[in-house]
């Protein structure tokens, strides 16, 4: 039983297209992908779908209007349509999430692979740096950096990347360490392949699945993180995103009874986050059969 499981895992890891279809067979993953597809369509087709522009001036509606036929999600303190804000805001929030995931995966992979492949001093140095960033509480770190850099979208992206790459680096490093000891790496080195070639042609493809699994989680935390930073006021509050919506909502919504203004962006963040968690849980299920319930 043990042998067949390991064989299956190795087969899955090296043929990740079939792994993806295995994952998709889980209902959880299907729900997850469904949600993501929904929001992606929303974001991409925003100009076509959205009833109004969230920056419309003059504002189309009366401030704090409750949800109704004209404004399905009500209006904010300026009278702007909240549904439009959600649609356009989604573009920004999801884009930030994806960009951060990309950058963090890039930096994290480079650091992790170098540390895991070259070991000894390079590993020590790189890992000390990673550990320091990892241990420090992320939000205070982000706040400090953002306070110096000034509030803007770029700051948010930069700061989120800084706090996200260590996790990727750690995971990539341990995977690299184990891959390095495998026979195929040795045989490549014996044949005389250069380090660069070994890393790019052999290790990276094998690392791809684990990087992807982690990137998925980074997107979630980045979206939530962006919302948190906006909420504190460190993002660009003139841009509409789910986070900035909550920033304004926290100031004005509660005492004006505009609960829909608070619920809508939060719900979107939760749904997107949930989607990614479902997918990552399904990925873990496929790769770790012991956790499966019969």
């Amino acid at each position: 039983m043990q042998v067949t499981t390991q064989k299956k895992l190795r087969a899955l890891a090296s043929h990740w297209p079939s792994a993806i279809s295995e994952v998709l067979r889980h209902r959880r993953a299907q729900v997850g992908f469904g949600i993501i597809a929904f929001f992606t369509i929303l974001a991409v087709a925003a100009p076509a779908i959205s009833p109004y522009s969230p920056y419309a001036f003059p504002a189309p509606g009366v401030p704090y209007a409750s949800p109704g036929p004209r404004f399905p999600l009500g209006t904010d303190y300026l009278g702007e349509d909240i549904l439009s804000e959600i649609i356009y805001g989604g573009r920004v929030s999801i884009a930030v999430g994806l960009i951060v995931a990309l950058l963090a995966s890039l930096v994290g992979t480079v650091v992790g692979v170098l540390a895991g492949y070259y070991k000894r001093t390079i590993d020590e140095v790189l890992m000390r740096g990673t550990d320091i960033v990892l241990i420090l509480p992320s939000l205070p770190l982000m706040i400090i950096l953002a306070a110096y850099l000034g509030p803007s979208l770029q700051t948010v992206i930069l700061v989120l990347t800084v706090t996200s790459w260590p996790a990727v680096a750690r995971v990539v490093r341990s995977q690299t360490l184990s891959l390095r000891e495998r026979p195929f790496t040795d045989s490549a080195r014996v044949v005389g392949a250069s380090d660069f070639r070994i890393i790019t042609k052999l290790l990276l493809p094998n690392l791809a699945s684990i990087i992807a699994a982690n990137a998925v989680l980074v997107v979630t935390s980045a979206i939530v993180g962006e919302a948190a930073l906006d909420f504190i006021g460190l993002g660009d509050i003139t841009v509409v995103s789910w986070g900035t919506m909550l920033y304004w909502a926290q100031a004005y919504a509660l005492f004006n009874g505009a609960w829909w203004w608070v619920i809508a962006p939060g719900l979107c963040i939760i749904l997107v986050g949930l989607a990614f968690v479902l997918i990552s849980v399904s990925i873990e299920d496929v790769f770790n059969p012991k956790l499966r319930s019969l």
């Binding site: 939000l139 205070p140 400090i144 919302a227 909420f231 006021g233 608070v262 939760i270 019969l294």
Partner: protein, 278 residues
């Protein structure tokens, strides 16, 4: 203007400023300079006034979160695949992705603003002179004010523990020594808690330590939502006022606290696991 610059030492070369700063930090009490916001109160004093409240908030909620997470994890882990397990896991995943501050806003809105069950802000009612959370005379009022923020923290973070505890339990329950415990005719409750959970809990302690940074971040946000006078709230005000000395001091103290807590968690782990020599 020039006088202000001189007062704050900002007219000296950068590297001198930095060295002086380090030297000051390493002395006791640490001298982080004077806060712009609370001028002329030194940064350190200001932080120390707010820190106890955050420690209170984070400390108590971590304990509650750990207990809830472990109990739920043990229960789900002992019956994987059951309705209880799937329901708990689904709810946990939902709550896990919920932003701390959003949950805070919702709870604040429902329980404080609408239902008036709990106060809207602060750590203690006006007129109460409790300067730190350990002041027993007003503990009722303090707990009343702390309840919603703590609940927010617990609900938003228990899922991380319960999910991992569940998975660890499933692993432990398939071990040989559990078969032995059952063969010995022990009650199922003893097998679960006295043996399986006891072994499964060890990695949890490391997890609690690792999560502390995350919980502190969450506490910061929760304090802002509830206007709870802890270091999070202080940070918020410092950001708004561009009070850089205060921010630096806060960051330093916070990081130090988290690192120290992690270290304590490591020691605790070594103490509990008889296989480790420390």
């Amino acid at each position: 203007m020039a006088a202000l610059r001189q007062r704050f030492g900002l007219d000296q070369p950068v590297w001198i400023q930095f060295t002086l700063y380090l030297a000051n930090t390493l002395s006791w009490p640490p001298n982080f300079g004077v806060s712009y916001l609370f001028y002329p109160t030194p940064v350190f004093t200001a932080i120390m006034q707010y820190l106890p409240w955050t420690l209170f908030l984070v400390g108590v909620s971590t304990v509650i979160t750990a207990i809830v997470g472990i109990l739920l994890g043990v229960w789900s882990g002992s019956r994987p695949g059951s309705k209880f397990d799937t329901a708990t896991m689904s709810i946990s995943m939902l709550l896990w992705t919920m932003p701390f501050f959003w949950l805070g806003i919702i709870l604040l809105w429902i329980f404080a603003i609408t239902l008036h069950w709990f106060p809207v802000s602060g750590a203690a009612s006006a007129g109460i002179t409790a300067s730190n959370p350990l002041d027993i005379t007003d503990s009722g009022d303090i707990l009343w004010h702390a309840f919603l923020p703590m609940m927010t923290l617990v609900i938003a973070s228990y899922a991380g523990y319960s999910l991992i505890m569940r998975n660890t339990m499933v692993g432990e329950l398939s071990q040989d020594y559990i078969l032995m415990a059952r063969a010995k005719g022990l009650r199922e409750r003893t097998v679960l808690f006295g043996h399986a959970a006891r072994n499964a809990m060890l990695p949890m302690i490391t997890l609690i330590g690792l999560n502390l940074g995350y919980v502190v971040s969450g506490a910061l946000l929760v304090e802002i939502v509830f206007s709870y006078p802890g270091v999070g709230y202080l940070t918020y005000r410092a950001v708004l006022a561009h009070d850089y000395p205060l921010l630096q001091g806060l960051f330093f103290i916070l990081s130090l606290t988290v690192v120290a807590a992690n270290y304590i968690a490591d020691l605790f782990y070594a103490f509990l696991d008889p296989r480790i020599k420390y």
